[in-house]
């Protein structure tokens, strides 16, 4: 029997955190290459990954009590086996470094968490 899949949704802001400049093409290529490597889609059966249909507006607080900062992110949705959710967390930690983010928003079957990288997590 096939393992239960969970819908995971995450957002990657389209600008770097430090200088608010857009990312280089290589960063987006590295992300999608890594997603396809870690979660290869089968040739048949349910599609394992669906890439965001549009840019998503949002906002975040840089620190508690400060006014929210508006931003725009790219949304990704993956339907992955439950046992591979941690692989996604590891991928998002590396993505946080590559995309110059302090944390990445991740929703696993509706439960939201922020994936915060450490220096040891490396890059995509």
């Amino acid at each position: 029997m096939e393992e239960r899949r969970l819908q995971c949704e995450f957002f990657i802001p389209i600008v770097r955190n430090s200088d608010k400049k857009p990312h280089q093409p290589v960063a987006w290529n590295l992300l999608i290459n890594e997603i396809r490597r870690v979660f290869p889609a089968g040739h048949s059966g349910p599609e394992t990954f669906y890439r965001g249909d549009a840019l998503v507006p949002g906002e975040y607080e840089e620190s508690p009590g400060t006014p929210p900062v508006a931003d725009t992110s790219r949304r990704y949705i993956l339907a992955i086996p439950e046992s591979k959710v941690n692989d996604l967390r590891l991928l998002l930690k590396m993505a946080a470094h590559t995309f110059d983010q302090l944390a990445n928003y991740l929703s696993v079957a509706g439960t939201v968490e922020f994936v915060i990288p450490t220096e040891e997590d490396g890059y995509l």
Partner: protein
């Protein structure tokens, strides 16, 4: 006898991708990609579309069509102001991919620190001119300076449309 012309697609970083020997399914996908691309979709919508099509067909990411689609996506993103134009990092990444297949293989062959290379690709560090010179020597490449206008022309959406038209003839 007519001489067979080798057709190529040139990426925003100047990489030549041969498209003369595509399989039937690759050609069919590329024709659909061309049609979609010409309608100048919003950058991420185009990305969502081609990724879904690619997965549906079950082609390998080694397919030249995969790299072409990534390139087209980048061109749209650059044109729409959501992606930065390529800088030396993108050129390096493409050269490494083309010559060595992976960053790991490149670092093993050259002794370049993989962590440092990752930081460079992430825009968190730069290579010194000396280090860059060494890397370029291994990659058999050279540093050139181009004007903004030349760079815009190289990444233009229209140029890719022409290359796609030629590739899918």
């Amino acid at each position: 006898m007519a001489k067979q012309v080798s057709r190529i697609y040139q990426t925003i970083t100047g990489r030549h991708i041969p498209v003369s020997k595509l399989s039937r399914s690759e050609k069919e996908l590329l024709a659909r990609v061309q049609q979609k691309y010409n309608s100048r979709l919003e950058w991420t919508r185009f990305a969502a579309w081609w990724n879904a099509e690619f997965s549906k067909i079950g082609l390998s990411t080694e397919s030249p069509v995969y790299r072409i689609c990534q390139d087209l996506e980048a061109r749209l993103g650059i044109q729409q102001g959501s992606v930065a134009p390529p800088d030396y990092r993108d050129f390096l990444a493409d050269l490494i991919d083309g010559r060595f297949g992976s960053r790991h293989a490149f670092c093993q062959a050259t002794g370049v620190d993989p962590g440092q290379l990752s930081r460079v690709f992430a825009g968190r560090a730069d290579l010194s001119l000396r280090a860059l010179g060494k890397v370029l020597e291994v990659l058999q490449a050279r540093l050139i300076i181009q004007t903004e206008e030349q760079a815009r022309e190289q990444t233009s959406v229209a140029r890719a449309e022409e290359a796609l038209a030629a590739a899918t003839q």
